[in-house]
């Protein structure tokens, strides 16, 4: 049985209900996209957890590297003025 080539890995994303984005739920092996979808339905939506499924070949995902996460996300670290709480507003203004 070891001679078999394992079927490719797919990442599974599920929209749990209308109005929400697809979320990553896990992965599975399947020989093609159609079977990946069917397997995803059986593995990840046995209790109506989804109304839509995406499957993406895992090999197609490009990810940021955790080793450079500090420098990669640095540019946002020193810009508190991007947040509304940075600004002081006179008390008289009730809502802004």
């Amino acid at each position: 049985m070891s001679e078999e080539t394992p079927a490719p890995l797919w990442e599974v994303f599920i929209r749990s209900k209308r109005g929400l984005a697809h979320n990553h739920v896990g992965s599975l092996h399947a020989p093609d996209a159609e079977m990946a979808l069917r397997n995803a339905r059986d593995v990840y939506t046995r209790r109506m957890e989804g109304v839509s499924i995406w499957v993406v070949p895992s090999a197609m995902i490009t990810a940021s590297s955790p080793d450079e996460k500090d420098s990669f996300f640095d540019p946002a670290a020193d810009k508190p003025y991007r947040h509304p709480t940075f600004y002081s507003i006179p008390k008289e203004v009730q809502q802004l």
Partner: protein, 325 residues
């Protein structure tokens, strides 16, 4: 200051800055994700534990699957099929979590079939009567839940997330088992006797499946420091007993432990000493069904080979269907 994670590391281990960062994440109760740097021991330990857990779910389908065709009603049959399907699903969530650590599911399955990785001792016991299905749900799944709930906060993200899904689904497993045993226990004299007999046989193996006593547990201290394990085997065992002992009273069934009684002072149930020698024997391969379970798993793998080959051949012939949807 030495961080908690290094308690078992040798003294020559010069503090690697990456290891310090890793342990700092764990100590501040953050999660480790697959592409983060991690010590080899952490990776190996998790692969071993997650694989064993996945194998347990897969092999665990066998004792219950044994009763699907003979379930006493359509309702019980539908429930049992749903439960066994869930076990397959749980196995897949867990293999998926293990694969994020850089192993392939097929390698793990080969290791299981070669007897180089294990599954839970409990599935080496036979299901002799229909009442065993109820007893498994109530006791075995009860013990599994006790063990699994703390794993939802395990330091490794993919494992913790898989356990959240598993725990949500397991609660149905335990309740259906309890309900089924309750019906038998409150049925005819013969049904009651059958339920009692099942509890007599499954009680101690369930108490033992939470692992060897803390004094003999080989992996515990390091797993605790790494945030993989949160409670010791004996703590989990006490928790399990405290949960099921009062439930047994409601079931009208008597656990086969003459020493089981509420201890007001401790705020816990006292219980007898489990036969850890038996646990060792069963884990070591000499339980009532070890060979049968292993042979069945191998046969299922081999019997399914043509299906996998056909699906692969179809995918090669119809590349359009393989393109990203």
């Amino acid at each position: 200051m030495r961080s908690k994670g290094q308690i078992e590391h040798d003294e020559t281990d010069v503090a690697d800055p990456r290891e310090l960062e890793f342990q700092a994440l764990i100590d501040s109760d953050q999660r480790i994700e697959p592409r983060d740097w991690m010590p080899d021991g952490y990776r190996k330990s998790l692969i071993r534990q997650i694989a064993q857990h996945a194998h347990s779910e897969i092999v665990g389908m066998q004792p219950e699957g044994n009763w699907i065709t003979r379930a006493p009603s359509l309702r019980r049959k539908a429930i049992l099929m749903a439960k066994v399907q869930d076990e397959a699903g749980h196995g897949l969530y867990l293999y998926c979590a293990a694969e994020t650590l850089g192993v392939d599911r097929s390698e793990l399955i080969d290791l299981l079939d070669q007897g180089r990785q294990k599954y839970s001792s409990i599935f080496n016991y036979p299901t002799l009567t229909w009442a065993d299905v109820g007893a498994i749900g109530w006791l075995v799944d009860g013990a599994a839940i006790t063990n699994q709930i703390p794993l939802c906060r395990c330091s490794f993200g993919p494992y913790a997330r898989a356990m959240v899904r598993v725990c949500k689904e397991e609660s149905f497993h335990q309740r259906q088992g309890f309900e089924s045993l309750y019906a038998l226990s409150h049925g005819t004299t013969e049904q009651h006797a059958m339920a009692q007999d099942a509890v007599n046989r499954w009680w101690w193996p369930s108490v033992e499946m939470l692992g060897p006593p803390d004094t003999e547990s080989t992996h515990s201290a390091q797993s605790m420091a790494w945030g993989i394990k949160r409670f010791s085997n004996d703590e989990l065992r006490q928790r399990f007993i405290d949960m099921v002992a009062p439930q047994a009273v409601v079931l009208g069934l008597t656990p086969p432990d003459p020493e089981l009684r509420w201890n007001e002072e401790r705020g816990h149930y006292d219980f007898g000493k489990p036969d850890f020698e038996e646990l060792r024997r069963v884990v070591g391969g000499d339980g009532p069904c070890n060979r049968q379970r292993a042979a069945h798993h191998l046969k299922a793998q081999e019997d399914g080979a043509w299906v996998r080959a056909a699906a692969a051949a179809y995918a090669t012939k119809h590349p359009a269907a393989s393109a990203a949807a």
